[in-house]
Every structure is written in C-alpha cells, then in structure tokens.
Symmetry: none
Subunit: 513 residues, 2 copies
C-alpha cells in the first residue's frame, strides 16, 4: 500500500495541505500500517522540502517515506540535474521517479528522441541507486503508451530494470483506461519482466480507478498506489479507502494490518478535515450514507438479517449502519430507529411519538438529514429532556436603499433557566444575524457554542402549495470539528423555519456535549 495523498492528492482542486498537516497525515498513515508514504516532490516547492525535514524528527513504526521526482532532463547527466539532487537532499531512503512510456509524449512534450529517453530512465535510476537509495520507477502514461507503441513502452520499463529499479509502477496517468485493457497490458508486462516487482497507479477519469487497481493486482501487481478518499487532480487518484477493504475483506489479500481496518472511516474523515473539504456522503465503505437504509422493505429485511441488504459489516471499516426517515420508509424504519434510541414502541409515549412523527412528515418535515431534530423530539416526548433555552421574542429588521447592500439586524430575548437575556446582533443576512444574536445570548451560559459552526443550509419549497406562501423546509447542518449533525424546521415563513432548525442545532450540540 503506497499512499500519495501528500503528493498527488494535493493536485486535486481545492486541496491544500500545510507542511504540518502533511506531517499529521503521515503519522496517521504510519499508525495505520501503510508501507510507503510519498511525502512530496522536493524539487518542486519549498513546502515539500519542509515536510521532508520535519518528518525526520519522527521515527515511524511501519512506513517508509518516499521522495517523488522525475528522471534527469534530456542531454543532462543525473549528477548534474538539480531535480535529481533535490531527491538526495530530501533525506528519504526511497526515491520514486517518473519517466515517460508514451512515444508521443517523448517527442511532443519532452522534445527528445526515444533513445535519449531510455538513457535518462536507466541512468537516473542507476545514479540514485549508487547513492544508496532504493528506487521505484513510475512509468508515466504506461497504458496509453502501451496502446500506441507497446514495444517502446516495454523498453522504457526494461531500461528502469536495467538501471536497478526495485519496483516498476504502471501508471494510467490520464485515467481513461478500461479494466480489461489494464488486465491485458499487466498480463503482458508480467510475461516480459519475469521476477520484477510491479505496481499500479490509476486515475479516476473513467470512474474506473478502483476497478483498474484491483484488476492489476489480480493480474500480478503487488504495489498499489493511491490516495485517501481518492483525492487528486481532475477526477482524483485511485481511492485507497475503497481498494483496501475490497482487497482485504473480499479477496483475501494482505494490505494494511487486518486489525487496523476498523480505523479506515476515521482516517477518511481526518483527511477531509485537514484538507478542509466536505466529506462525500455516499462514498463507498467510509461515507456517512454508505450503510444508510431508506427503503422500507430493505429495512424490514435488515431487521431480520443484516446480510440481506449489506455487502459487508459496516463495523469492519469503522463505519455504522443508519436507518433514514422519509416518505419512502415503511413502518420498519421507524421501529428500527426506536431500537437505536431504546424507546418502547408499545408504550403510550412510544405510540404518541409515532403518531406525532407521522403527522410531522405529512406536514413536510424530513428527518433523514435531520437526526438532531428527530432525537430532540423523541427525547422531549420521553419527558426526561429539558431545553437549554427558550425564545421569548425575536425581531428582524432588514433595510435596503437603492444600490446599497441590505442592512440586517436581529434582536432576541431568551430565557435560560431562570435568567432572561435580551440582546442584538447584525449579520450579512437575516439568518446570519439571528445566528449571531443566538450565539451572543448563549455564550455566557454555554461557552461550547463557540466551537459549533453551521456548515450547510438548504431550503426547499414544498410544492404541495405553490407560490411564495408555500411552506418551506430548512435543513441545517452544524459541525464541531469532529462530527456533524442535521436539524430541520418547517414553516410558511423561511425565517421561522430557519429559527427552528438553528435553535435545534444549538440544543442538539449542547445535548451531545
């Protein structure tokens, strides 16, 4: 398992990691038992060189850090090449260098001869090896090159082997290859380079990166390169969060130590968090929706036997089964949710709650993305829950003159226990002003609200009644840096619906603290 989140992953749009973030991720990958961590391209930017200096202060338990770079340039000896010398300065014990396998690229992009390219590959590998490094050779565009000129593509790999490469990695750089093309090409390479350790480096432009990696392994490759969550340029790299459980749990290959698979979901969320990206809910294996069930018949079968509608146990990768509420849900979904919250469906409170939920869903509430509001509702019905605050009054004033932006001001009066707080705040808009006023009022009683941030806000007009007087549903998602929760409000007034969802988001956050 060769992770390149820190190098190729950061080529993704919107992905930016500081040197400290990179160190944190490297330590986490090491703990998880990854064998190789590609730290960066020391010749390309100072941040990557900084990472290599910082990481030397730690002694990793499992992983070896690799430094990425290219072969020497045309017409240059490896020892004279600045890029090659940066690889030596980085201090990593493994260098991964890429060279071109596609004849068209050699002549079009490099502007050199096919023969000179072979020399660059062979001598660059040999030089780094002579300096005591282990060398991995990334055959850039191998599969496109193989399609265009198989003999030449293979001769480039052979040049790397002649130079002394420990592993030769076949790259689908443009990400457009189909699984059977990968299978055929890898099978041919295995025949042509007997005894050479091979790797696969796939991109996801055809939505095939995971499948292509698996096909390559089945055809004889032993090193798999990829990134956490499939981060990477364009459509991303091969997603290790999917490749690892597929190989380990379904096909019996050894990847990272078996006991660490349960940390996979946590690793995925951790990397999203440090990269400041929103997790993709329906991401296989580790996504929040990956084991979320909505269809009524599925849920009733699941209650009898989880294997009926799950391809594996979510706990094996540290994820959890969730049952969603929606109009598609049969009664079984509700019952399952009761089980999770230890509610007795046959008690009077249980029946009352069920009735109330049905009425609320009929009225336009949707709880599948608002489990915070659902849980608050259930807890209120169980009589053991007391709200952390109550609204006494609220006033919002919005004013606009000609081309100036709207001025928004919120005034609120809350009751917290016996005390009354009366305060006001401005904001960029009415919800922001309300949010600010609510936080201002609560912060003296509950300092933890400062750590909660609204991360998504959706509004939906319920079309059963058309026009601006229609009911609207507001869904709010709030996070505290570790987990996120959804809350919901419904009203003909968007501000009232927003207030309900906002108040629930704070109340639920406080409950969970």
């Amino acid at each position: 398992m060769y992770d390149t989140t820190l190098r190729d992953g950061t080529q993704g749009e919107g992905v930016s990691l500081s040197a400290e973030d990179k160190v944190k991720i490297a330590l986490r990958l090491d703990e998880m038992g990854f064998q190789y961590i590609e730290g960066g391209w020391p010749g390309s930017n100072p941040k990557d060189m900084e990472f290599f200096q910082k990481i030397q202060q730690y002694s990793l338990r499992n992983a070896q850090v690799t430094a990425f770079g290219s072969t020497c340039r045309p017409g240059v000896e490896p020892h004279e090449d600045a890029n090659i010398n940066c690889l030596l300065e980085a201090g990593a014990k493994i260098a991964t260098i890429f060279g071109k396998c596609w004849d068209f690229h050699v002549t079009k992009a490099l502007n050199t001869t096919l023969e000179e390219n072979l020399r660059m590959v062979r001598e660059s590998v040999a030089y780094l090896k002579s300096k005591g490094l282990m060398v991995f050779f990334d055959g850039e565009h191998f599969f496109d090159g193989y399609k265009a000129n198989a003999d030449y593509a293979l001769s480039v790999l052979k040049a790397a082997v002649q130079g002394g490469a420990a592993t030769v990695i076949l790259c689908d750089t443009n990400g457009g290859s189909m699984p059977q093309e990968i299978q055929r090409a890898v099978t041919h390479v295995v025949e042509e380079l007997p005894g050479v350790e091979l790797g696969i480096h796939a991109h996801n432009d055809g939505e095939m990166a995971v499948a292509n990696s698996i096909m390559a392994v089945q055809a004889g490759v032993s090193q798999v390169q990829g990134t956490v969550n499939g981060l990477g340029e364009r459509c991303g790299n091969a997603n290790l969060c999917s490749i690892i459980p597929n190989l380990a749990l379904k096909m019996g290959y050894s990847t990272i130590p078996a006991e660490n698979l349960v940390y996979l979901t946590e690793l995925s969320r951790y990397v999203y968090e440090l990269a400041n990206l929103n997790p993709i809910a329906n991401q296989p294996f580790v996504g929040e929706s990956a084991f979320a069930h909505k269809g009524g018949i599925h849920v009733s079968a699941l209650m009898k036997e989880p294997g009926t509608y799950e391809h594996m146990n979510p706990e094996a990768v540290g994820n959890v089964r969730r049952v969603l509420m929606s109009e598609l849900a049969g009664i079984s979904n509700l019952l399952y949710k009761y089980k999770e919250l230890h509610l007795d469906k046959s008690s009077p409170e249980g029946r009352q709650v069920l009735e109330k939920l049905k009425n609320m869903e009929h009225g336009g509430y949707q709880f599948e993305a608002a489990e915070g509001s659902l849980e608050l509702m259930l807890r209120k019905a169980m009589n053991g829950y007391r709200e952390p605050f109550q609204l006494e009054s609220m006033r919002l004033i919005l004013e606009m003159r000609e081309e100036n932006p709207i001025h928004s001001e919120a005034v609120i009066k809350l009751k917290v226990g016996d005390q009354v707080v009366h305060t006001a705040a401005e904001g960029n808009g009415p919800v922001h002003a309300l949010d600010n006023a609510l936080r201002k009022a609560l912060e003296t009683f509950y300092p933890e609200v400062a750590g909660m941030r609204l991360s998504d806000y959706k509004v939906r007009v319920l079309e059963e009644k058309a026009g601006t007087e229609a009911r609207v549903r507001v869904l709010i998602e709030t996070g505290d840096g570790k987990k996120t929760w959804g809350t919901v409000g419904v009203s003909t007034n968007i501000i009232e619906a927003s207030w309900q969802a906002l108040a629930d988001s704070m109340a639920y956050g406080l409950l969970k603290k």
Copy 2:
C-alpha cells in the same frame, strides 16, 4: 439505457423529488434519447402514482416509461395482489418487477419455499404479460445468489423467461461484487439462457458499479440500468453519466443518440439542481474539476497538445477544460440558445458580455436553471432593454413573540417610468411579503402580473464552510399557467438574493407578454 433516477435514485440519502420534478427530469431524459425511464413504484406511495398520471399528458419522443413493482406475495395469486394491480393502474406499457434470486433471501426475508418463489416469479410475469404489458424482470441479488446457489439463481431467471419476460436484468443489489465475478456470472447466464435479452443493475458499494456494468456489457448484456450522477441508496446506483461516455466514446457501443452526448454535463447539473444537491466537483466526465488542470508540467504539456494529459475531449460530453481561457466555452454553449439575440462574441459588446458572464459564474451565479435572468442580462447588454421598474428602497420587519407565528411586513418604494410607488404588504414570510408588496406596486401599471405565480424557490449555500455568512444562490421558478421560467440571485444575504430573483422573475414575465 434504462434510467431509474426517479425510482432507485430517490432512495439516496437527501434525495427528494416532487412529482413535478420527476416529470421535468423524465422530459429531459426523453429529449436526450434514453430508451427507458423507470418512473416509480406506484404501489409504494401516492407521489409515484401522481407521476404516472401526470406523465400521461405528454407524448414522449424516445423513451418508454416503466412502472416498478415486485412479484406477487407468497400464497397469493397475481390477480389478487394489490401491488401487481397498482402496476396495471399506473398505465405504463412496461412493468419492471423484481423477484428474489438468492435462496437465503427467499427463506429468511420472504419466509417461503424456494419452489413457491419460482411460482411467484413465473405467474407474476405471465399475468402482467396477459394484460398487455411488456415485462422486464429484475433478478434481485442475482450475483450474491449465484455465489451461494448458482443453480437456484439461474432457475429463478428461467422462471421469468417461462413467464414471458422480455428482458431479464441481473442485479447486484448489495453492490459488493467484484468485476471478474460479474464477468464470470454473466458469461454463465449467457450460456444458460441463449437468445434471452439481458440487463445489468449495479450498485456502487465497492466503488465498482461503473466497472461492473461495463464488464457485464462486454460479457453480453444489452440493457444497462443506472441513475444520473449515480444517485441511489447507500453508495448509489451505477452512474449513467460515466457509463454512457465510457461505452459510447471509448468502446464504440451505441447508447443514447451520439449527437446528444454533448448534453450530458447539463443533464448532470440539472438533476443535482432539482434534487437540491451539491454537485460533486471531481465527478468523472461531468464534474467541474473533471478537466481542471493544476500541475505545472501538465499545463505546459497541455498547451502543446491537449491529448497529453486528457483521456478525451471534454467538449464531447459538454464539459470544459479549465486551465486556459476556455471557461468561456461553457458560456458559449449557453449563448447558443440565444442565437436570435445576434450576440457577436467578437464584437466589443459581445466580449464585454462574456467577461461579465464569466465573472458572474465565478461569483456563484448559475444560469442552467435560470434562463430568465440570463436573457435579461443579455438584453440589457445588447439591445437597449429598459427595466420595467426600479427599486428605490425596501424595508422588511419580522417579529415573533413566544409561540405566536412570525409577523412579516414589507415596505417598498419603486420607480415605474417617471412615477414613484410607495407601498406595503404583509405575508406568510419575508419573501411572500416582498412578493406581495412588489405585485401591489406593479399591478396598477402592469395588470398581467396577477397571472404570474412563483412555483419553486430554492436556496443553495455556496461556500459551505463559511457558515451563516456564506454566499447563497436563490433560484426562483415562476409560471403563468402556460410556461415557466427560472431566475437567479446571489448574495451573502438571502433576502437580497431573493429580491434579485423575484425582480427578474416579474421583469422576464413582463418581457414575454
């Protein structure tokens, strides 16, 4: 190409489509040339039945609408089964019914015998066929069933063929199968059921849905079921936005008419918009980042020759490369629709308009569902269009006391020609109050505004991480009973964004009168 966005797609977490949304998507899929559109499960909820009633008012050019359901229940004759009868009531000419192929499911979830299950499949298909319907049979859990008991799984398919099924679809219901397992099983089915038309229905739990669908096609399947953007339960269904270009552009299969592939990106965004979901930026083929280049060497090579770092031409699926100035290409597509405005892209006004559009798109405007705002903008720039009214000032006051509903009041001052109107109105919410005040002000000048009604109102937070102070985009749809039009507003203030979209909606409606 069999689309099940409207049925299986809505099983996805957070996916909720009204009957009107479903009709709109069905019309779009028909235009694109999809062969089959699964409209819903008429027996499961009233919204799906409503769709089947509404869609009968349209004559589709390419697609046939199918109704989804299950076989009859154990111990029940098809003609006595409520679910089967709902399929007949739906009025679709094709019924797609699912039956269980996994012995474990038959005994565990259905609580019946293997023999009885075969009877249910055979007789349900035969009954629907006898009523004049074409029947597609979805073999639920076929691949898991095949692994557990291949003979039984095959006998279920054979029962469907005996009943008269037109096509037998192999479903990877739990989504956990690997590509080579799919290949082997499909190859076996082709041998066992010679001459029978086969289909594939894959789920993405192992991140293999697209690869598995392609493998099945290569092994002999001719119908591919999937959803737009891969929406669907858990990790989603097979993504038709990836399968179509893979099959059509890389493998030479016929899917939808070749000339419609360029609308694939627009289709993807349209469905995200109606489902009120955030598009996934790095989604293959149609995502915003799918052809976005960041790496320095990639960019310099791309400038020499796009094929060096792109697996295909982004324009083939209506997407754009994002490195150079080519973001304008996306706008050019939009402008194509307004050919009648005679916009010359090379004239000074043309260049100015393109620059402005590009800046607006960068700022979060999106014109795919807001052609009203786009046309107003173009007319303002091009041919001396004069606005029917201008806002001088606006004030909104919202007040709430304890449990009472919020009181919403809007005061606006407009200039219409030389005259000034200063008026006020209440409403169920701030947008309704604004809408009422605007109509009240306009009605004396333009009585036709009385016939225009806002029919949908959507809000999208653009920078989710920014919390309540993020920019929001408001999309409004307005209708006059004959046609509908979309308008858009963007601001950090939801009221300001709503005002922009609302003002455009009236102005565009007046323009079209």
